[in-house]
Subunit: 168 residues, 2 copies
DNA sequence: TTGACCTTGTTTCATGTGAAACTAAGTTTC
DNA sequence: GAAACTTAGTTTCACATGAAACAAGGTCAA
């Protein structure tokens, strides 16, 4: 099924810039990451979206507010790696659903202090449990050492991509 | 900066379902994958978008057509893990830009056989080279054994997520 | 050969996204 | 103390996404 009539890249000659780079998507890291990530996200989101009616952005905001209350929108953005627009919308939705409450910071009227409501806390606990269970199933075949290594790799790649993004 | 006033989860008691699961986004695999992937994709896409005016979907379609010509849209979808809507639009854009040509399959008039044009081939070669160079920079700190391990992990996770998605 | 069904690919529609413009509040400078 | 600047968060706009409806071709059975 492979190699319908691809480019075997001939052997000898190699006209001009016709180097025909050997790029196979299956072995290309950005592609593999993208496909895997989308599958993981979709599968997990499906669960809490259908059960609790919240999307990924909302869940991320709740996840940080569940551990640390009275954050500003900007702090939520930092901790979730989302931009401020996405946070703004996620928070608006959560306010509307009654999972988050907002009060203006008395010292600086521009910032809004965000916290989970009682209902929000409840949902947070459930979704957090769901999420951890999902992760556990995902990593079921990995023993402790492998998990460490996996996270180590992701950590290194993340640092690296930030470096590369900063340079040019 | 951490632990503004989070939930230290007390120590002894644990009312009702108040198990307060310990979910820290930084240590949560789906989140880590998502953030890393988005950074990688954005950074790389920026390069070829600005230079060659093609987006991620278009690039993926070209990547498979560059190795294997006369594919149907459905086959492109399979090989790129994109759905048929995305492929349809990517192909429409590539046709418009003159990077791809389409001819109806004489045997089955429903399917369209897609191939890169000469210009498409040229762009394919350049973007492929760009992509491979980018990947090389990304993996610069990984020696061969680590790369193998990394891809092995991704492979296992991918299989696992497909299993989990198929079950329920 | 005609009618029921399936398959390929496109279009519609409702939603999510982020860059840039914007509003409101705070700070600085002279 | 008021113009100039900065910062927090929202809104606008233009575009990407995917589920579902659709059109057009193909297959199968009676």
């Amino acid at each position: 099924m492979k190699q319908g009539q691809g480019k075997p890249a001939a052997d000898g000659e190699c006209r001009e810039s016709e180097t025909a780079p050997d790029l196979e998507l299956e072995r290309f890291l950005p592609y593999r990451l993208s496909v895997l990530t989308n599958r993981v996200s979709r599968l997990m989101a499906r669960e809490y979206e259908s059960r609790y009616g919240i999307g990924v952005s909302e869940w991320r905001a709740m996840a940080v507010l569940g551990r640390e209350a009275a954050l500003s929108a900007g702090e939520v953005a930092e901790r979730t790696s989302m931009d401020k627009v996405r946070v703004s919308r996620a928070v608006a939705a959560l306010l509307h659903k009654g999972f988050v409450e907002r009060r203006r910071d008395p010292v600086d009227q521009r910032v809004a202090r965000l916290s989970l409501t009682a209902r929000g806390e409840e949902v947070y606990r459930r979704v957090a449990a769901l999420a951890l269970a999902f992760e556990a199933r995902l990593l079921a075949g990995f023993h402790a050492e492998e998990r460490r290594r996996l996270f180590g790799f992701l950590e290194r790649l993340d640092r690296r991509v930030l470096e590369l993004g900063a340079e040019p």
